[in-house]
Structure formats: C-alpha cells, structure tokens
C-alpha cells in the first residue's frame, strides 16, 4: 500500500473541537506491550486539567465510534523492543496519521530497554524512523512503579504543551530550543 486510499481514515489533529480543560492521549501499540498499565499511570497522576487516555492496537481508528471520540491531542507510538511485531505494527499505523501530529504532538515510547539480550528491534532502525518523522523517543520500561511513573510524567508534560495548557510554550518553541541545544 503506497497511498492511503481513504482520506477520512487518516487521524487529523484539527478536525474536531477541543473540550474545555480536557486533553486526550492516544496510545498505539500491539497487544501485550502494556498500553493499559501506562494509561493507568497517566490517569493516576494528579493534575489541574483532566486527561483522557484512549488505547488502540493500530491506526486507522474504527469509524463506527467516530462521533463519540474526542479530539486526540497527543499520540504515543509504543514499541516493545523485544517484540518485532510491535514495531511493524507502528510502521503500518504511521501511514494513517496526519503529518501535523509530528509537530510536537506525537512521541515514540520504547519499552523493555533494559532487556539487552532479548532485544530484536534494533535501535538504529527505530531512531531513523523517529528522525524521519521528527519525533522524540522516550526510553523506559513498565516493570516497576517508578519506571512507569517517570514515563507517564514525561508523556503528560509533552501533552500539556501540545494541548496548549502551558502559557507561552508551544511545540514549535520546544522544537526550536531542542535543535539549538543539539547544535551546541
């Protein structure tokens, strides 16, 4: 499949009105990578505004529930480094997402970083894909509470900025400063 046939299947950031004081995070990952554990950690964090978490195995999202679905503010592509299928799944899903999500509204999450021996997704492949999309990668694990909390906090911070809850900070600003930092 070289071209996405149906434009309506593509996930777009600006096709719905945002809810007041609510942001929605979409977690995309194969079965068994720990989407729901991560979602629980994200929801468990106490915040000023409310965060919703939606999970899916792959894009495109089913069109049946299109009307009841809120606007997706942030997309997390979850890759289990010990599971090749999870990476392929993400690669397929990337076809059904608008490129505007890659401007600070998406991130890759690489899980089971510590399992060096059983790793089958090469980091170079993952980083080249992330570089192509201009998306940051969060490395972490869900084995302990502390690990999943760290990951959840990182995702929340990025979502906060992506949804515009932080005054005077926008994804573009983050991007610009990041590139400046990289040049140093």
């Amino acid at each position: 499949m070289t071209e996405v046939e149906n434009e309506s299947l593509v996930l777009k950031p600006f096709d719905k009105l945002p809810l007041l004081h609510t942001a929605t995070i979409l977690l995309i990952g194969s079965e068994g990578v720990g989407k729901h554990d991560l979602a629980k950690s994200i929801v468990g964090i106490d915040t000023d505004v409310s965060y919703q978490v939606r999970t899916t195995v792959r894009l495109p999202l089913p069109s049946i529930k299109e009307t009841s679905r809120p606007r997706i503010d942030f997309v997390c592509f979850i890759v289990d480094l010990t599971n090749k299928e999870s990476f392929n799944n993400i690669e397929e899903s990337l076809k059904y997402i608008d490129g505007r999500y890659f401007l600070g509204r998406a991130c890759f999450v690489a899980l089971k970083v510590k399992n060096n021996a059983s790793r089958c997704v090469h980091l170079e492949v993952l980083t080249s894909l992330a570089d192509h999309c201009g998306v940051p990668i969060l490395y972490g694990g869900l084995e302990t509470d502390a690990e999943s909390m760290t990951l959840a906090r990182q995702i929340l911070t990025m979502t906060e900025i992506a949804a515009g809850f932080k005054k005077n900070v926008s994804p573009a600003l983050i991007d610009a400063t990041k590139i400046a930092f990289n040049l140093l």
């Binding site: 070289t2 096709d15 009105l17 004081h21 505007r100 401007l103 192509h132 201009g134």
Partner: protein, 270 residues
Amino acid sequence: MASSGESDIVAKTYAKMEEVEETFGELEKASVPTITVIGALGEEDASISELSPKLLTARFKRIKAELNIVENSAVPIVSDDEDVQFEIFTKELEKDILELQETYSFVCGQNKDIDNMIKKEEDILDQNKCVSEMLQNRIQSPEEENARVPDRKKEEIYQKIQNGESYLKEVVKKLGSFVDKHFPLPSQEVFSEQMNKLRSADRKLKLRDMISLKQILESLMNKCVDEPSDPYIAIDHRFWPPYIELLLRCQIALRHPDNKDRIKLAPFYL
C-alpha cells in the same frame, strides 16, 4: 485556543468559545490537505533517516504562523483603575514575600547543614592531625633507636663473650687442678708392676713418656673444637689404659665405631 483562556468570567469564556468555533468553521471550510509522511514510503526509502521535506515545510509554516501571532497580539496591559492596580501589586508583593520567606528558611537550613558539616570536617581534620603526628613520631623514633641499638647490642655481646671467656678460664683451671689432684699418673711401682705383666717387647715404655689424664682431656677438647668434622684422636701405649677405660665408662669419651684405637669427646654439649 479556548482551553487556555482564563475562566474567572464566564461570559468572557463563552464569547471566546464562540470565537473559537467560528475560527474552527473557517478551518473546516479551508479543508487543509493531509500531510502523509510514511504513506509514500516506497518512494522515499533512501532518505528514511532524515526529516521528511514535507514535515520541514509544515514545521516552517507553523513557526511562521506562531511568530505572526506573537508579533500581532497586543501585550496585555493592567487596567488603569487604582484599586485594581493596588490589589494586583499587593497580591504580587505578598506572593514575593512568601517566596522570599521560603527561600530564607531554606537558606537558613542549608547554612545549618553547612555549619554542621564544617564542624564534622574540623573534627575529622583534628583527628587526622593527631594520627599524622603519631605516625611522624613513630617514623622518627625507630631511626634514633636504630642508631643506638647496635652499639648497645654490640657491647652486650662483647660483655657476654668476655664473661664466657673468663668463666671458661676459671672452669678449665678448676678442671686442671681437680684432674691433677685426683687422677695423677700412676706411681713408679704401679707402673713397673703393670709393665711386668706385659710381654718384653712391649716394655719399652717409661713413666715419663706417659700422657696424663689432663693432657688427654685437653687434646680431646681441642680436637673437638678445632675439627668438628673429625673429632677423633688416636690412642696408643702412652695413654694410661685405666684412664681411657674410665673416660669410656663414664661416657665422657666415645670409641670410633670402626676403629677401637680412636676416641672422641662425647657430644654432651650439643
């Protein structure tokens, strides 16, 4: 965005929401085309590791738009009303004071910590100084002792040697006088009597040729000290046989295991 607006005044919020909805309607009408980044993957295989050019243009557009907003939006000004200004400034001042107080208490705590640490470090320094002093003393004292000890030891050893020599002289003198007194050479009569028992060929010996017990002991002892590897001396007719017998019986002297004419001093001193 509507969600970022202040919600203290409900009406204002509603107005803002309406505004947002209007803008959104415009956005829908404009029907922005989707940017597919991965969709045409087959064509862009070569540059997969680089940022997609489509994304770059999108990013450029977005930054331009944000810049536009920042440049054109009015700087929020505080209202001219004196009461409002007073209120705002007092609030800000109170907040500042609170923060400063917190900072002050924090700094105080840190000061205390640092003081404690300095005290601890000083204690440790004192201890280390004591230890180093002790160690230095120890290093110095052996040198002095080393310088003194050999002399003292030498003197001690000399003293011991002298004592031993004088004791040896005394003992040898006593032994000599004792042996002279109690084990003299036999008298002429006894000697001739003994000679008569021998065959005529063996009667060449004379009393004055005989060796006294004192001389025997002397030669035994000298041989034993001078040649520890071969301490045996040969005996012949000049040795008075009863004395040889006496030495052997009392185990003062021992015969050579192979040669009955040779004896040595028993190694009782070992």
